[in-house]
Subunit: 371 residues, 2 copies
């Protein structure tokens, strides 16, 4: 890993150089040509792709070649519960939902309700409860109940473990040690865990008794699981999954990744409107130190977390986004107003999201797979 | 581990000093007093106990104290399939069946159909098939279908994995590395496996939502799994299991442990009568090099694998066993006759065993637990 930053599923540190990250691990950048190819086949465009938030990939051209030959893919993504979901968590799920809708394909969503309990000081029972909340937050994004299968690892281990051991046989401790930053004092559940995460990348091939291409939208810290498992999957006779990689939603305080464990840096889906307002008003902007200076010199939208929240999540319209960025650059948009606007947008989003959530509560069972 | 021998579940080497093994790992020897206490409570005596083949224990007095207070225990044992079962494999299962019958208690039998596929060059599908044969060989020993639950790990992972991760969280790689002889090149499935083997030692407590004492009859190489897991179980709020430890059935060629991977040293339950005869006739005895010398000087039953087979498995009557040993010692029993007798005994046992096996084939499902 590059010396100035560190990205593993269990630790993100320093200022992330996304291009260098991709280069180091043999991940390709999504270029204009691939972007247009995806949009053409999808019959539409998504801001997360246009704005290079999903910025890199593995084997996407192969996946689309197969798709054009009539060999349809399925989608796989997931989240490890550890607390209330944050806005940042929604990014891969929003994009996955869009891909499902546009390509009309199935989605497998793994909720590993053992992972964080193994890694952190949180109980298995607590994580298992959180898993249901996460599932509700996910389906509220508009997933098709007929084409979406959600499973919690401890409830679906009867299916997953049988396959996980086949992957695990081909992964050594040496391989996971460096990749995940483990030591000899790491517990053996954490060491094994990556093989459980690998399973849904070929589970449909097991079920259908023929190879089915798989596309995994994920945040870059999760790529390592499939780096470690890719060779094992090939040896087992399956396709390597294609992957599209998202950048992290920055923290309100300027961290490169919104941290779920720092409440001030992060907006949780469970935050009250007041809490959202308070947090956004404490956010770091790219503006000058006073309103006078800002009006005179203007600010830098790239350094402004408020602008970045619009870019990542809250302004799908590129023209309107450019106007916000321009206001920041030219100094016509002042911090207070800027933050008020974003608070309102976030609170409106959360209000609608929570309504959808509650409406779907009774439908959740339709999505959940159990052994 | 002592320098002259090595005992792990994956490697047994050198001449085993059973007393030293027990001492080194804090295992107690079963003394006359405990032997008599077990016999009194069981209302009977078993040659495997009388002859110190089950020779050591952990916490047996505690288990029997609880039993006398009305806190009944359950039994847990198992076998990892890797090929046809051998005579040696039967020893813990025979003793466990006897304990079930005498104490009227339940038995959990784990058949880890992933373990050997993880450790050795054998496929998961192959091992899974062998697991059914092993289960049949086990129930042919007379287990009570109402009180015996057999489960294959990959079919029962929905129940086991949920508990295994709780154990795994409290076991580090350092702990298993030395205990099992692992290295950084060991695969992560093998590293995790011990936590699956720990689960049945407290599964009944999970099911009954109260602590139930557990007694595990096992061969000494398996003690390590519970050494590694004992502290984790206590931290999870369960009793540590009590254990009784068996010595290994020696190999026909004089090895301290009949090796399932050396066909000439080992009698498989699937061997033909001719194969048994041939193997027994090649066995090492404690006799002199010629019949003349043997008649004159006599032999040593302790060094005679034929005598040992009678002692371990084929002569339950102590007086008749002593007569065989005396014949060997005094030189009145010659090698040919001695081996002919044993071959006949083994073949008679296998013939009856195989008949019981086939009679029970249609009943197997009654014993098997699946998720």
């Amino acid at each position: 890993m590059a010396e100035n930053f560190k990205v593993t599923p269990y630790e993100v540190e320093g200022k992330i150089d996304y291009d260098r990250f991709a280069k180091e691990f043999g991940i390709s950048i999504i270029d204009k040509k691939l972007e247009e190819r995806i949009e053409k086949l999808a019959g539409g465009s998504h801001w997360l792709l246009r704005r290079h938030i999903f910025y890199a990939h593995r084997d996407m051209n192969w996946l689309l070649d197969e798709y054009e030959k009539g060999n349809r893919f399925y989608l796989y993504t997931g989240i490890a519960p550890s607390g209330s979901m944050t806005l940042g968590h929604l990014i891969p799920f929003m994009f996955t939902q869009w891909l499902q809708e546009k390509f009309g394909v199935e989605v497998y969503i793994q909720i590993p309700d053992e992972e964080k309990a193994l890694i952190r000081n949180v109980s298995f029972d607590e994580v298992h409860k959180l898993a249901y909340d996460d599932a509700l937050n996910i389906i509220a994004l508009g997933y098709d109940p007929k084409k979406t299968k959600i499973f919690f690892n401890t409830d679906y281990a009867g299916t997953l473990y049988r396959q996980a051991v086949r992957v695990a046989k081909r992964i050594t401790f040496s391989m996971v040690k460096d990749a995940f930053g483990f030591t000899n004092e790491t517990n053996i559940g954490s060491i094994f865990y990556t093989s459980m995460q690998a399973v849904p990348a070929f589970l449909k091939s097991v079920e259908e008794k023929k190879n089915v291409p798989c596309l995994i939208p994920l945040a870059i810290d999760q790529d390592v699981h499939f780096r470690v498992a890719r060779d094992a999957l090939v040896k087992l006779g399956y396709y390597k999954p294609a992957i599209v990689h998202a950048k992290f939603l920055p923290g309100l305080g300027g961290r490169p990744k919104m941290s779920a464990s720092d409440p001030n840096d992060t907006i949780y889906l469970s935050d009250t409107p007041e809490a959202v307002e308070k947090k956004v008003h404490r956010a770091i902007t790219g503006q000058q130190s006073t309103a006078e200076l800002q009006k005179k010199l203007g600010g830098d939208p790239e350094k402004c977390s408020v602008c970045q929240y619009y870019r990542y999540l809250f302004e799908p319209d590129d023209k309107k986004l450019e106007k916000i960025f321009e206001g920041e650059r030219k100094g016509t948009l002042l911090a207070g107003e800027h933050k008020d606007d974003l608070s309102k947008r976030i609170n409106k989003f959360l209000e609608e999201h929570n309504k959808k959530r509650e409406r779907l509560r009774s439908k959740l069972d339709e999505f959940i797979l159990k052994d």
